[in-house]
């Protein structure tokens, strides 16, 4: 195994110091002289025609500088694909969900702007709404978009092998209905931005985990060339997909107001706005059919997925794709059919969230597989091991896996005392019943999708031997800046302290697809490695010339540069940097690189090909105590055996798995928007339950090392695997404790109590 000096070490986060001192500036912390505030007026109806908007009273309020409505954006709409661009910055002619943005005000301060929104008079004609995706698909349901018959926003189908034949030949076939909940990403930093328009174009300090989305959206909306749109990235208070991967009414309106007034304009959404309107995980109904042989071998699966897409398409086509294309991992599946429907409703928009698409169908398949194993008298670990893929592997839909630590992970967990002694521990104190569950899942890393998907890196050598490193990738909390700096340091034989990384600035940093699909370490890491190699080869030429050596023989290590064959020919890196920078009349030592994995095009219509450059495998054990009287579930312990290829920073990898698992726990046990006719009834953090410190279990993370050939230093993804593995392992544990299989998330105490009551009858 290669010995690294920085890679694989528990390097503290490079942004730790500014964060613990409160120095890290987030979007809402920015202000500028003369700055105005933008506030949004939102619809009180989930589905209504806009008959008239009268802004005159708002305009007359002292302190108001400008007012805008949907018409001011000239009919521009956006969406993830050219044919799904159905969302306007502000509603035009019609509102399609409750609290959709209808108009906006800019004023000298926040209070005045807010007051002015209340003076805007909007005349609506209410339309019948539809809030359940299965109702929305029926003939005669209210149609939400003119172009979408039966409210189908997107459908996606896969058909591989012969499922019907395989079902006929199986020893056991089961059909079940599963459902996943409406879950918020749950970042604590509400979306915010300060926008400024002047003759040089747009500058915006915006809370975006993928700033190059808003960069393109603003250029298109305001008809500016890309070099006139500058998105400068503050620190980001959590992302988790969805809202911070997209543009918002506040972004467009603030920019428009700045154009109209010549002043910088700021907006900060309230948490209520976040919870009422922001993009959330699609809730999905999954009708799953699985065939199995007596020995536990899975022969076929057919999934029919119905997703509540809410009012607009957003990134929904990719969500639907991921519900299917990843179903052929991590268990061998020789026959597979998938029919996924994303349905428009008058609910807020369903979009990406950590574990995107995969968490829904994997939960269904994982639980169903275990239910069938139980019927056949097969142990939960055994059924997984029987079907687990081993690398190298190609799935029936041509997903290729070159490293896989699933079986090793499952074996490791099966040896864990919590698993081995689970029968002994079953009866807890008083009404408590103890249960242990297990899961084995997979997630893609280095997401491949449509359009531009590369990451770039620029490495600049300063004359004193320190380094400026530029990346277009965003650290929204996951720790990628630290890992990327480790990569530059490793390649140049420097320490982490020698490297400076600046946050994204689209005027300066190389274009990057964004922080989603677990792509940053894998793809931005590859780019960083290549840019560092470029610098190294430029410096090696200078050194080789001086020492009359072969540039290939120049070694960079521990802050020194030397000739491999004559180690006494050496000098400090900083000395070589100085010589190189001062050569001739002054040279520019600039390295560049970009990732090339992921440029292969997948078949988005058929579900064929790799949606990532590599795949992580997560085996998870969860122990729970279920109060059989109240239905309250306490997760006591989790053990996560995660194969991320090779952890480049083990402390970060642990932190990612721990955070993802607890987020998955919230989703499995209690997180759920309570909706009534399109209205979010629990739009505050007291009534929308996210895990607090007392809810969190003890979590151990075990690294399963597989060293993937595609990732930098063998690395694969580490941030989404455990949000996929957590819900099935928890629900398996609840089954172990109660004897009941729950097929709908979240598994609330009410559901448990009612089910146990009915079971007794």
């Amino acid at each position: 195994m290669h010995v690294y000096s920085v890679i694989g070490k528990r390097v503290p986060r490079i942004d730790g110091r500014v964060k613990v001192r409160g120095e890290a500036k987030f979007a809402a912390d920015y202000e500028m002289p003369g700055m105005l505030w933008c506030k949004i007026l939102r619809s009180p109806y989930p589905h209504a025609k806009i008959m008239n908007i009268d802004t005159s009273r708002a305009e007359r309020l002292v302190g108001v500088k400008a007012v805008c409505t949907g018409k001011d954006f000239g009919g521009w709409t956006w969406g993830w694909m050219p044919k799904t661009r159905d969302e306007p910055p502000l509603a035009v002619g019609k509102v399609r969900y409750l609290a959709e943005a209808v108009a906006a005000v800019s004023a000298v301060d926040e209070e005045t702007a807010e007051e002015a929104t209340e003076l805007i008079q909007v005349e609506y004609e209410e339309l019948p709404g539809v809030f359940d995706p299965e109702d929305a698909m029926k003939e005669g349901a209210p149609q939400i978009h003119d172009h979408a018959e039966n409210n189908v926003s997107w459908d996606f189908h896969m058909d591989f092998g012969d499922v019907e034949k395989a079902f006929a030949e199986a020893d056991l076939v089961r059909e079940d209905r599963f459902e996943t909940g409406r879950v918020i990403t749950g970042y604590l930093e509400p979306p915010a931005a300060v926008a400024y328009w002047d003759s040089s174009g747009i500058t915006i300090w915006a809370a975006k985990q993928s700033p190059y989305f808003v960069y393109r959206h603003l250029a298109a909306c305001f008809k500016l060339p890309l070099n006139k749109v500058r998105v400068i990235q503050p620190f980001i208070g959590g992302g988790f997909g969805g809202t911070k991967n997209d543009s918002l009414a506040g972004d467009f309106c603030s920019v428009l107001f700045s154009k109209m007034t010549g002043k910088p304009v700021k907006f900060v959404y309230s948490m209520e706005e976040v919870l009422m309107t922001c993009r959330r995980r699609h809730n999905m109904i999954i009708h799953n059919k699985m065939g199995m042989k007596k020995d536990g071998t899975i022969t076929a699966m057919h999934s029919r997925v119905i997703a509540d897409g809410g009012a607009y398409t957003a990134i929904g086509p990719l969500t639907m794709y991921l519900t299917g294309c990843m179903s052929t991992l991590p268990y061998t599946l020789p026959n597979f059919k998938h029919d996924a429907y994303r349905i428009f409703t008058n609910n807020p928009i369903g979009a990406a969230m950590r574990g995107h698409g995969v968490t829904h169908t994997r939960f269904a398949a994982e639980i169903q597989m275990e239910m069938m194993a139980e019927e056949l008298g097969i142990d939960p670990v055994e059924v997984r091991l029987r079907n687990a893929i081993t690398a190298p592997h190609e799935t029936i839909n041509k997903v290729t896996v070159d490293s896989c630590g699933l079986s090793e992970g499952l074996h490791t967990l099966s040896e864990h005392p919590a698993w081995k002694e689970r029968e002994k521990a079953k009866k807890g104190k008083g009404p408590l019943s103890h249960g242990v569950g297990i899961s084995g899942t997979s997630y893609l890393g280095g997401a491949r999708q449509r359009g531009h998907q590369s990451c770039g890196a620029v490495v600049r050598v300063c004359e004193d031997g320190t380094i400026n490193y530029l990346t277009g990738a965003t650290d929204c909390g996951q720790g990628s800046d630290t890992v990327l700096v480790q990569i530059i340091a490793e390649e140049l034989g420097l320490s982490v302290e020698d490297i400076d990384i600046k946050r994204v600035d689209t005027a300066v940093t190389p274009c990057d697809a964004g922080s989603y699909g677990s792509r940053v370490t894998v793809l931005a890491g590859e780019a960083a490695q290549k840019a560092a190699h470029d610098v190294k080869s430029q410096l090696a030429r200078v050194a080789a010339e001086k020492w009359e050596a072969d540039p290939e023989d120049i070694v960079f290590r521990n802050g020194q540069v030397f000739v491999r064959t004559f180690p006494e020919r050496s000098m400090p890196f900083r000395k070589l940097a100085q010589i190189a920078c001062y050569s001739g009349s002054g040279a520019v030592i600039l390295g560049r690189g970009y990732s090339q994995y992921g440029i292969e095009v997948l078949d988005f219509d058929k579900g064929l090909g790799n949606s990532g450059t590599s795949y992580s495998f997560t085996s998870q054990l969860t122990a729970v105590d279920v109060d059989m009287e109240t239905g309250f579930v306490k997760c006591t312990d989790m053990v996560i055996a995660h194969d991320c290829g090779k952890p480049l920073n083990p402390i970060n990898v642990e932190a990612q798995s721990q955070g993802a698992a607890v987020q998955g726990m919230g989703q499995a046990l209690y997180e759920q928007f309570v909706m009534d006719h399109g209205r979010t009834l629990n739009a505050n953090l007291a009534d929308y339950k996210m895990p607090l410190s007392l809810d969190g279990p003890h979590i151990d993370v075990i690294d399963i090392i597989t060293e993937d050939p595609h990732g930098p230093y063998g690395a694969k993804e580490a941030s989404e695997g455990a949000i996929v593995s957590a819900p099935p392992s928890i629900i398996s544990a609840i089954h172990d404790a109660t004897g009941v299989w729950f097929k709908e998330q979240p598994v609330t105490p009410e559901k448990i109590v009612m089910t146990l009551k009915n079971k007794k009858k």
Binding site: L188, P190, A655, A686, L692
Partner: protein, 159 residues
């Protein structure tokens, strides 16, 4: 409405301000005194991002009327380190990866400070109890608890 004059100490410095009676302590800290280390998450006292110490006890500064801090002592995250030297709790959060996005971190550290000031040797359960008013969506709390535990250990030597 008439402004009220208040006098208070913030991070060891005394301040005298005239504030509108509806202003919150959080607004005074962020908008009047321009200290942005204290964050506003929910604005309703639910998330704990705005936690500061008032007379040594944690408060959600978004819920405290500014007029109530008259003659009180307030400490925010900016008041914790001594110049360039980090407070041991801050040090432990850095070395044990007790933060990810950093948005909850200021409030979390203030809650940890109040906890360790009153209980220098907390159990894991007591640490969980001590930070139960602070949401963190990134970490799953494990590394935060380890950080606070390590800080308690480090601070023992100082007494």
């Amino acid at each position: 409405m008439e402004k009220k004059k208040i006098h208070f100490t913030l991070n060891g410095h005394s301040h005298e301000l005239s504030v509108q009676p509806w202003k919150t302590l959080l607004q005074v800290i962020r908008e009047d005194l321009k200290l942005t280390g204290t964050k506003e998450g929910c604005g309703h006292g639910e998330c704990g991002s705005c936690t500061v110490l008032m007379e040594g006890k944690t408060v959600n500064s978004c819920l405290v009327p500014a007029v109530e801090v008259d003659n009180k002592e307030i400490i925010t995250i900016e008041g914790l380190s001594a110049g360039e030297t980090l407070h041991p709790i801050q040090e432990a959060f850095v070395s044990h990866s007790g933060m990810q996005c950093g948005f909850c971190t200021s409030g979390m550290i203030m809650s940890a400070k109040a906890l360790l000031d009153s209980n220098p040797n907390p159990s894991e359960g007591e640490i969980r109890e001590g930070i139960t008013g602070n949401f963190c969506r990134c970490t799953g709390y494990t590394k935060i608890i380890e950080s606070i535990s390590a800080a308690a250990e480090a601070m023992k030597g100082e007494e």
